[in-house]
């Protein structure tokens, strides 16, 4: 079961890499001083960050609008935050989503577009695969709405700010805690 801690920073924040390292230290209950030396970060081929000196610490990062978020757990996780802003929603859905998702969104006027988006992104971030090839090949929606599980993975939406949608993906999520970054 994944107990997930999500650290968030607003617009006045350090660079993404520094945020990640500071969050890793916070998650480990360590002081921030010297965190960059203790928590070197590497990225997978697809860009998912990991900590080579602490493989049991899993993380996933996202940024959108004014916010940067880093999710940490002892289990693999994926996270996505998306601000609600104007875009070619119908075209994006038709172009990049699974036909089942497109049908669902069309039926309900695209009101759940950002939930579908965040759910799909958190799913591909869980695997570390990213959007590169698989984005349209799986569906997070059925005729009745957005699914809570896809391919054995749980999707959980977490209230954040209005005008943002936040979704976490893991095999089994026991708890999600939102904590301001330092």
């Amino acid at each position: 079961m994944a107990a997930v801690t999500i650290y968030w920073y607003g617009p006045e924040r350090p660079a993404s890499r520094r945020c990640l390292v500071r969050c890793a230290a916070l998650f480990a209950g360590e002081p921030l001083a010297g965190a960059e030396e203790r928590w070197p970060v590497q990225e997978s081929e697809k860009g998912k960050p990991f900590f080579p000196l602490s493989p049991e610490t899993h993380c996933s990062v996202t940024h959108s609008g004014d916010y940067w978020l880093g999710a940490f757990s002892s289990e693999p996780i994926g996270i996505d935050l998306q601000i609600h802003k104007p875009g070619r929603l119908a075209a994006l859905s038709r172009r990049f989503f699974h036909p089942e998702e497109d049908r669902y969104l069309q039926a309900f006027g695209f009101s759940d577009f950002y939930r579908v988006w965040a759910a799909k992104e958190s799913f591909v971030k869980f695997s570390g695969e990213g959007i590169s090839g698989n984005f349209g090949r799986f569906s997070v929606a059925g005729p009745q709405g957005i699914l809570s599980r896809v391919d054995g993975l749980q999707l959980r939406f977490v209230p954040f700010r209005c005008d943002y949608t936040l979704c976490v993906c893991a095999k089994e999520i026991s708890s999600v805690q939102l904590v301001p970054g330092k």
Partner: protein, 75 residues
């Protein structure tokens, strides 16, 4: 081509500091939603389709220009 790309990026994201060396993620801090919106706008403008697997190889404006040149996409 550079001017058209600048115009599309500005229309979609409001970002105007775009040069041939601009990196979409590192310099403009775009996320996947922004990039895909730009892709849709680019495809509409040029009446073409960029395979999804190719989208994530285009990190900088210069990559888009080179990609368009190789694919015969012209203004």
């Amino acid at each position: 081509m550079l001017e058209i790309i600048q115009k599309i990026i500005f229309e979609v994201t409001g970002k105007s500091e775009v040069t041939i060396d601009t990196d979409f993620v590192r310099d403009l801090e775009l996320n996947s939603f922004d990039v895909m919106n730009i892709v849709c706008a680019f495809e509409d403008y040029f009446d073409t389709t960029i395979p999804t697997r190719d989208v994530w190889k285009l990190h900088q404006v210069r990559d888009v220009i080179e990609y368009a040149r190789q694919r015969g996409i012209e203004e």
